[in-house]
């Protein structure tokens, strides 16, 4: 649906040319929710504006639904942009127009007759849950309601693609959740292709199918959200994920020396990652039964990535060398990802 090839964007600034994007390749399939995550200044906002050519790339090609946008003049671009909806961090609603008129705006641009506009706007306001606010001005709405108006406006011209530029960054966590649900909902109902720009891993985890991590104008890493979450390769990706999934040791061990070889009285700490339906298999119970070891649960968390269950557990093993080897062999037969943290001593005077 969207194919970006070697996109570059250079800005002239008083201190010389600034390369915001340095050769981005990206493919978004029809019906997918594709997340682009990056720190501020990474180039993600520039990148999303290249998709609808609000920013013309300095080099590279932008294809949307089989059409080459980079080869188009302004007039052709105006036609294509009607099939690419966009929502913004600060909503960008007309303060001088009512909710109804804001949603009708793109239709009036297209010179649609007023009766047809009404038939279009009313169901859209119902879809976003604002049917009773049609006559209100944006100033009387909450942030979440304003973004709902933004979404209805973006959907008014029946787009094939929806671009979301930090659409939830100005909203509180509850409202963020409801807006993300709405976006996922319309993605499914209207089989809309969605590109989400964000700096919050939570957003990626909740609704995206694929993710690209952008850093200093290049894509550091990309793949399905499951892959990237369970097996991040780049430091920047791990950093984003660590906001959601803490990699700290349990408090009883924090600050202790981690050693590669057993020391007297130490625990071998393992991080086990369960994915999908396997997340509820009794792997640990099975391991204790099959091997001659002691196993202490130190940390456990069951989460979801989009709709896939995703569990993370830290266990501490004690036992003979052969017992521990047997445990490794047992875990290797199961559908569990094992990370060895190392041998760690429990604090002498632990508070918990």
């Amino acid at each position: 649906m969207i194919k970006l090839t070697r996109i570059e964007k250079t800005y002239d600034s008083p201190t010389g040319a600034v390369k915001a994007l340095k050769g981005i390749d990206l493919t978004v399939k029809r019906g997918e929710i594709f997340g682009i995550i990056g720190l501020s200044g990474a180039g993600k906002s520039t990148l999303v504006r290249c998709i609808n050519m609000l920013e013309r790339p300095t080099a590279g090609q932008v294809m949307v639904d089989g059409e080459d946008l980079t080869a188009m003049n302004e007039k052709e671009l105006r036609r294509v942009r009607k099939s690419i909806g966009m929502i913004f961090q600060h909503f960008n609603l007309l303060s001088s127009a009512t909710v109804y008129d804001n949603v009708a705006f793109p239709l009036r641009l297209a010179k649609m007759p007023e009766e047809k506009i009404r038939d279009k706007v009313e169901p859209l306001l119902k879809l976003v849950g604002l049917a009773d606010k049609a006559g209100q001005y944006p100033a009387n709405l909450s942030g979440g309601q304003k973004q709902r108006v933004g979404i209805a406006r973006a959907l008014a011209s029946d787009p094939k693609v929806l671009l979301c530029d930090e659409a939830t960054s100005a909203l509180d966590p509850q409202t963020t959740k409801s807006i993300l649900e709405l976006i996922r909902d319309i993605n499914q109902k209207l089989s809309l292709t969605v590109v989400v720009i964000t700096h919050e891993m939570q957003v990626i985890k909740d609704i995206c199918d694929k993710v690209a991590v952008i850093d200093k104008g290049v894509i550091a890493e990309q793949g399905t959200v499951l892959e990237v979450f369970t097996n991040p390769k780049e430091a920047i990706t791990k950093e984003f994920i660590s906001v959601l999934l803490s990699n700290d040791l349990p408090t009883a061990f924090r600050g202790s020396v981690v050693s590669d070889i057993p020391t007297p009285g130490s625990f071998l700490l393992l991080r086990l990652i369960f994915l999908g339906e396997k997340a509820d298999d009794p792997v640990i119970a099975g391991m204790i039964r099959a091997c001659d070891i002691e196993c202490t649960m130190l940390f456990g968390n069951l989460d979801q990535i989009k709709a896939t269950p995703f569990g993370r557990v830290i266990v501490g093993l004690t036992g003979s060398e052969t017992g521990i080897q047997a445990a490794f062999d047992y875990l290797a037969t199961k559908d569990v990802k094992v990370e060895v943290i190392g041998y760690v001593q429990r604090h002498a005077a632990s508070a918990d």
Partner: protein, 217 residues
């Protein structure tokens, strides 16, 4: 002595209202597009054209730097060419318009600058043309500010129209100088001052109300 004052005052007030309203109307028709041009041709604007912007800006600044009383006299040949005479109420409107157009242009530009760029960007993302953006985004969004700014221009025009009395433009200023000052009739002077104050208060009041009713923020 008061009986002869009333017809003088009503005639003068009529002339002032005529000068101010017609000048304001013409100046608005010319000044608002000028303000739009100043804003949109500026760097980063939807019709960005740095050279054009610099030229217009320089002309606007040049006219605005001439004191009204000098402008009025300096353009007498032009006024004569345009309306056939350099004296009288209609002739006085020529310098009033010329002085007000750049003033309105700058004021409108200032109001348009207040419209967040995000709104322009949103309209562009929906396939709006530059003309759509001017008509449906910039002007409606800036309207409360523009109305407030235009109120200031009307008040400035009331003051300038009084100066226009000096070239026989008529109106309240003319009356105050000829009767109040030159013929030593302080009561005429006082009456014109009172009327001018009332007029300015009324303009400001109406302007404020209108700007407020347009502001939906």
């Amino acid at each position: 002595m008061f009986s002869d004052m009333l017809p003088l005052l009503t005639k003068a007030l009529g002339e002032t209202l005529y000068m101010v309203s017609v000048s304001m109307l013409i100046a608005t028709v010319l000044g608002v597009p000028l303000g739009v041009l100043l804003h949109t041709t500026d760097k980063g604007g939807i019709l960005a054209s740095p050279t054009l912007n610099r030229v217009i800006g320089a002309v606007v600044n040049a006219i605005r730097s001439i004191p009204f009383i000098i402008l009025m006299v300096a353009i007498i040949p032009f006024t004569r060419l345009l309306v056939g005479s350099a004296i009288g109420t209609t002739a006085a409107m020529v310098p009033l318009v010329i002085a007000s157009v750049p003033f309105i242009g700058r004021q409108v530009e200032t109001s348009l600058k207040e419209v967040p760029y995000g709104l322009v960007e949103a309209a562009l993302s929906m396939g709006a043309t530059p003309f759509d953006i001017i008509r449906k985004v910039l002007l409606p969004e800036a309207m409360p500010g523009i109305v407030a700014q235009l109120t200031t221009v009307v008040i400035a025009l009331v003051g300038e129209s009084a100066m226009a009395g000096a070239i026989g433009g008529g109106g309240l200023g003319d009356l105050a100088i000829r009767y109040g000052y030159q013929r030593f009739r302080p009561e005429v002077m006082l009456a014109t001052v009172v009327i001018l104050i009332a007029l300015v208060q009324l303009v400001q009041f109406v302007g404020n109300r209108l700007a407020k009713s347009l502001n939906k923020k």
